[in-house]
Symmetry: C2
Subunit: 488 residues, 2 copies
Amino acid sequence: MPYFDAASSAPLHPVARQALLASLDEGWADPARLYREGRRARLLLDAAREAAADAVGCRADELVFTPSGTRAVHSGIAGALAGRRRAGRHLIVSSVEHSSVLHAAEAHEADGGTVTRMPVARTGAVDPAAYAAALREDTALACLQSANHEVGTEQPVAEVAGACRAAGVPLLVDAAQSLAWGPVAGGWSLLTAGAHKWGGPSGVGLLAVRKGTRFAPQRPVDERESGRAAGFENIPAIVAAAASLRAVRAEAAQEAARLRELTERIRARVPALVPDVEVVGDPVRRLPGIVTFSCLYVDGETLLHELDRAGFSVSSGSSCTSDTLTPSHVLRAMGVLSEGNVRVSLPFGAVEADVERFLEVLPGAVAGVREKLGAPTPTPAPAPATGPVPASGPAPASGPLPATASGAEGEGAPDALVLDALGKLCPLPVIELAKVIGEVPVGGTVRVLADDEAARLDIPAWCEMRGQRYVGEEPAAKGTAFVVRRTR
Amino acid sequence: MPYFDAASSAPLHPVARQALLASLDEGWADPARLYREGRRARLLLDAAREAAADAVGCRADELVFTPSGTRAVHSGIAGALAGRRRAGRHLIVSSVEHSSVLHAAEAHEADGGTVTRMPVARTGAVDPAAYAAALREDTALACLQSANHEVGTEQPVAEVAGACRAAGVPLLVDAAQSLAWGPVAGGWSLLTAGAHKWGGPSGVGLLAVRKGTRFAPQRPVDERESGRAAGFENIPAIVAAAASLRAVRAEAAQEAARLRELTERIRARVPALVPDVEVVGDPVRRLPGIVTFSCLYVDGETLLHELDRAGFSVSSGSSCTSDTLTPSHVLRAMGVLSEGNVRVSLPFGAVEADVERFLEVLPGAVAGVREKLGAPTPTPAPAPATGPVPASGPAPASGPLPATASGAEGEGAPDALVLDALGKLCPLPVIELAKVIGEVPVGGTVRVLADDEAARLDIPAWCEMRGQRYVGEEPAAKGTAFVVRRTR
């Protein structure tokens, strides 16, 4: 039963398990106490801190353990912003950060601060030159993930760190997805991660703050972990986290090569096996174990369910029919198709035969979902938009209709066919669009009325994949009208 | 090697260990995911929530798991205060709460709120009538621990809860020390605890918020734990926490009777075995496993070290020679002697023979420390102050000298002997006072100049124990002058 969702949480590494068991009997006491049980706990904690700092590439006294990666992010951002309050209240984050970073940015805005959210290319990477240009006199902190959690794209951290250093702005790197593979290169000032992503136990995050970085811990604060992480230390889990980080690092180079080859197979073969698929994320500058693709005319949650029934545990950045009706902020920022999105993230030790079996199962699963949804019969994509991997370039323009165009192509255009998809959830608006496009004369337009948030992303993406022209959107009496011109 | 500091952290209960091991393989995945590993994790989490809620005495949907008791306190207080913002910004806490509650109160003050800190009797308990009288129109939240962590005194929670209910004010009960023994009686609105106090693993706290309690979770917030505890859930530890809470509850009645008898022995025999000792805390309304006493002319940290060498791990509310030079806020609020303070907190399963052995070792350990410090030879205490257990009554007046008294007994009094103890740490000022008191004529006074914060507590306590009169304090050119009148 292959588990292919390591980017959510990795199964406990055997070394983590061993270390956890070994320290349960020694690590339960209060490390602040002076009696022998306390001293033993303190020794374990100190040794774990040394090991983790070594793996992170910092000094032990620069690293504290937190209850989770999320808490590390919140404490790190809040402490760095407060420490730099005199410099200003401007925060920069990329638009594809983990939700914890974006939540912290929202909290900063709610508190009166200003936030710049750096756009990304269609690969998911920020442009380092644009990032550098966003640094201001009053920038208190810049944040950039080491690699993206949904599509695996590596960010240009070293370049951005260099620009930050030159500007005297500290850079916080969320290294949650990459720390298993190696230390983060470049002159970062703060770094965060969570152990369950590398096969450590739940309940442990880490926050490194380099000496010389202005940092004012925010409440809650107590005397533990240098005042940077309140609450009783979870020492057995911390020991297990540090031991397993060391263990995965020892295997990292070999395993990276192996998993990269396996994900490369998926990247290469899925577009051949499944029609109307877009593989997203940078094909080269990426994590070894993650590959993400989106399938036209597919509801991601139903597809996940089908794959689960076939024995494969994968994730989706787009769960249109679940509680959250909005597509992944990462896919949206990249401007790529969000419907039928599947993220495969292979854990350490993933078995080649399982990957092959996944490639066998996937086409049938996608076809089954499409059939249930009444999707149009797959057609070969037109030449200009065929590439399964749009390697770079900005997202297609999808803003409001330009004023000059609205007369010809907008609301009042007499040739506009209207498709009412109000109240229909992704991927139905796109499926209906695909069905009616044949009725539109070449050169004519169709206005798709929709109120599902995902339509804003998926209709332009469909146009790009199908070689049609996306004109733009405009407000409608109900929902939004997305205007598409048939070009072929 | 007896460990007698269960109130700091209890050794892992065997059931916690079993449950942790059993759930390591099932509980590592993200419970928000829909694939089988996620569903299994969700099942474990849901079952643990049911079990914990049952033990707490609330509904499962009223309880969330947090990374620690400390985090539960901070989230609970912040959320309740925000939820009641329209009622007002007044917070009531007792003066003997756990530091996390007091830190939260400080944070509230720093944020512009007002705080009333309820005094306690010499037993450590708040007066429920006084607490009720402190409730105001604008009181947003009241906090009261179920029992004190340093002296074991149970608080009148049910009475205070009744008063709060009548006033329409939610009551948050920090049940960290008592939850192992049973649910908290009375109509509380919020309740917090941490698992490592009952033999569960580190890394798990719980926060219960009764339906109908206004509650606005404060940042950081994500979709986990009903938005009340951000960060990836630590499911194996949560399972272990819930299972061990159930297990200790099953043994609680029997173990409570057994430990109560053992601590009663210590309460009764220590004053007979060791001269110049004050046993503190309520002798009846108390937790089964905690007993605390203070020894005149003893440095608590040195005594702890001696007891550690003899194989006993105990704690002290007063570590005069450690980093924190101030005595415990609990002992200070109670107005009892802080020097030479020892807290014995027996874990579940504590062995009778170990307690007997402790009583054998203690007198020699105390005598050894006193000898090293050059303490006066013990003398039998005078009759009026002999009682080892001052069961109740307010703390002795120890404020600034009353204006009317200062002429006769204060700075300018011609008969005042001056003892310069500036720069000397607890217990040296008291030891020197004990040595010079014989030189003061009966009816005369001695002015002790001291700058150690503990002197403010320990000189009045010494007077009470030795049957001398504590007149008051007044500012001196350096430090403070504590004025004592010899009465015998």
